[in-house]
């Protein structure tokens, strides 16, 4: 099959193959479309026909379109190699000469000179999706106007506007300047793409040279193509990661946005004249709606959280626990304190002290129970205790006034305070059962002591042992 004799006429074989190929295509597709091939680029015509067949296919047409574009470039590469080989007498292709030829963009049938000069720029241009394409079309529509202005100089666009249509004129001037800036930015971008393209050839040369060793030589067009792709990507990455590219890329994007923005403003102006709703108006509506929804959602969540964030459940659980503790303590034979919290039994006389303790405990309990949202305010409680101590030696009236003032102030600050103030007024080191948790902890301690048979329930009524009890106990132990 393979004939590598130098004297073989490859040009004739090539022509024959092209004819064969085209015949096969027309046979295959004659029922689909009757298009006369361009004899110079039969490969392309086949692809075009293939593309046309899928033009109305819809679901697969995107893939077909992308395939077309890529396959065409790939076939160009194949054809360039064949053409080059046929001109060189049919021998193996010389890499250096082939690359030089590509770089020089000789007149290759069917090959877009842009592809040879700047394949990356061409590729990026072809990549544009619908969203991008529409803008490109728009920009290209304005190109003749911009070019004319550039010939005349852009200085007049910066001239001040005046008269009745001053604002309109200013707007058009801005829009045209934005177009001009965008074109300039694209020019800079294309220059960098050209740089990447040139660099890709340099890298490809290096990569090809590395394959000179026997066994590593490139023996297919596909392998050569893959190698060129690697080189092109490497070159592109070098450029794309440079500081210069970052600036140029940013300039292109920003310039394009300025043009779009100016055009949107113009469309809006026309829309207003025609009584049409505008983008700005719709945006405002969306924004307000969005803000309202956020507020509504936040409000709903706040409401729900107030009822369901676990505080209710926690309080219920604590109440249940308190009830359990009460039952436990009331069943205990040595439970003078907590028994006071239980309903009094008829006919049973009690000592005064337990009754006072019961009331104080109840006050603290009710205060915490009735103010679930307000956290215990130690700052507020503290001054109460201090004030009472300070006024202990004062005249009666002064003490009464102080108590009134404190009660009034505490009532304003928190509902916890009056109870605390009242209990503080007993001049007794009352336990600071400022929350359910503390109350329960105190009760647990209480039960624990009772179980251990401790007699000092008086000192440990609700909370911690007194400051003196522990050292005294140690002292007693050491003496004994």
């Amino acid at each position: 099959m393979s004939d590598t004799n130098g004297g073989h006429d490859w040009s004739k074989d090539w022509q024959a193959l092209q004819s064969q190929y085209w015949s096969a295509w027309t046979d295959l597709t004659r029922n689909q479309a009757g298009v006369t091939p361009d004899a110079a680029t039969p490969w392309h015509e086949g692809l075009e026909q293939w593309s046309r067949m899928f033009g109305s296919a819809g679901k697969q047409s995107d893939a077909a379109e992308r395939l077309m574009s890529s396959a065409k470039d790939y076939l160009n590469l194949m054809q360039s190699m064949m053409t080059f080989a046929s001109g060189k007498g049919g021998g193996p292709i010389n890499a250096q000469s082939w690359l030089e030829t590509l770089r020089g963009a000789f007149n290759m049938p069917g090959v877009d000179p842009g592809l040879m000069n700047n394949p990356l720029a061409k590729m990026l241009r072809d990549m544009s999706g619908n969203g991008v394409r529409s803008f490109e079309q728009l920009a290209s529509g304005a190109k003749p106007m911009i070019e004319q202005m550039q010939q005349e100089g852009l200085s007049w666009l910066r001239a001040p506007a005046f008269g009745y249509a001053r604002e309109h004129q200013e707007h058009y001037q801005k829009m045209l300047l934005a177009f001009a800036d965008f074109q300039e930015a694209v020019k800079q971008y294309n220059a960098l793409m050209m740089k990447a393209s040139q660099r890709s050839f340099e890298i490809a040369e290096g990569k090809i040279a590395e394959r000179s060793e026997p066994g590593r030589q490139i023996d297919s067009v596909r392998a050569l193509y893959d190698l060129w792709v690697d080189a092109a990507e490497e070159a592109y990455a070098e450029v794309a990661l440079s500081e210069e590219f970052r600036k140029v890329y940013g300039d292109v994007v920003n310039a394009q946005m300025r043009v779009r923005s100016q055009m949107q403003q113009e469309v809006e102006r026309i829309g207003v004249d025609l009584g049409m709703p505008t983008r700005t108006e719709l945006n405002n509506v969306h924004k307000r709606l969005h803000d309202l929804r956020r507020e509504l959602r936040a409000s709903q969540e706040a409401q729900r959280d107030a009822g369901h964030d676990g505080r209710d459940a926690e309080i219920a659980a604590m109440r249940a626990e308190i009830d359990d503790l009460r039952r436990l303590v009331s069943n205990s034979p040595t439970a003078p304190v907590l028994r006071t919290a239980a309903p009094p039994k008829a006919g049973v006389r009690r000592k005064r002290a337990p009754v006072r303790r019961k009331r104080a405990a109840k006050r603290a309990h009710v205060a915490t129970k009735s103010t679930p949202i307000v956290k215990p305010v130690p700052v507020a409680i503290k001054p109460v205790v201090v004030r009472v101590q300070r006024t202990a030696a004062a005249p009666k009236a002064r003490r009464r006034d102080a108590r009134r003032r404190l009660a009034g102030r505490a009532a304003q600050a928190s509902r916890v305070i009056p109870a605390a103030a009242k209990s503080a007024a007993t001049a007794r080191p009352e336990p600071k059962a400022a929350s359910f948790r503390e109350a329960i902890a105190a009760m647990r301690q209480q039960v624990s002591r009772q179980k251990n048979g401790k007699k000092k329930v008086k000192a440990a009524r609700f909370s911690l042992p007194s400051r003196t009890s522990a050292p005294n106990a140690r002292l007693r132990r050491s003496k004994s």
């Binding site: 010389n94 000179s212 940013g250």
Partner: protein, 353 residues
Amino acid sequence: MNPIRIEPQKALDEAVRFNQKLAAGLKTLRNMDEVEYGATAKEEIYREDKLVLYRFKGPHAPTAKTPLLIAYALVNRPYMVDLQDDRSLVKNLLALGEDVYLIDWGYPDQSDRYLTLDDYINGYIRRCVDVVAKRHKVGKINLLGICQGGAFSLCFASIYPQKIRNLIAMVTPVDFHTPDNMLSHWTRGMDVDLFIDTLGNVPADLMNWCYLTLKPVRLFQQKYIGMVDILDDKIEMENFLRMEKWIFDSPDQAGEAFRQFVKDFYQGNKLVNGGLMIGDKSVSLKKISMPVLNIFAEQDHLVPPSASRPLQGLIGTKDYTQLAFKGGHIGIYVSGRAQREVPGAIHEWLAQR
């Protein structure tokens, strides 16, 4: 020695074969049905605006006590994790006994333009986490964030550590300013305020174009030349087209969320530098106290491994595991190697915690 030894006859044969494949492709493509995706049955659990929370149904009841919620990126559709029967992260996780949920963000339109990262993270993700936790009567769930969804998950875990038992970050960018991060490099010259003020939402076409330009020759040309090789194979073509559909099935990006993401993450690199606020809540990776599994792809051109690796030094937990997958950003879900390695690694890691 001449490095190119392409015999002309061989080149001609190659050209003929190429065209024969193309001719066969005519028949293959025209006889193909619309490709479908999604291999695993799922039920809708919760819906809010365009978001839908799904629970996947496996062949057996899940054995895992703690459910796993997947938060995907906004920039592509989440069915990548359940693309087809033999390429499904979800299916494999279910087979291993995990209970898998997924957030589908939907397709934002202009009415969603003002959605912010606060809405996405403190709103949508939080409510989805709460819904899942409530269904399972647990206080904490496992969260698996992918790509941009991984960055969201990091923020969420930092703000609500009490809601997350274990955190898995897949191909998640953390340090956005590494020298090989092309996407980040480009966005830093952009005036993102002008960009969003002009565009509103960011069109999907523009996003796709941007991604393709990261590797223009490979992604726009070489891939389709490779496609010719499989044009005569219907199954392979279905796989190719399914992937193609996913790649270009991109939702528009809600403008305000995009603005903040570019400003705070790409430009400000605030996950590393600090100072990131999501709504009124501050994000510090040091607050991430739960166990973390970080999975990244060694050949990832969108989120280079160098962008993911720094997570280890930035989080508050000492229980950190790292898995470097041999593959790319997409191969980590759909390649054969991924099916063998990734779900098993996730399941095993979770089972140990």
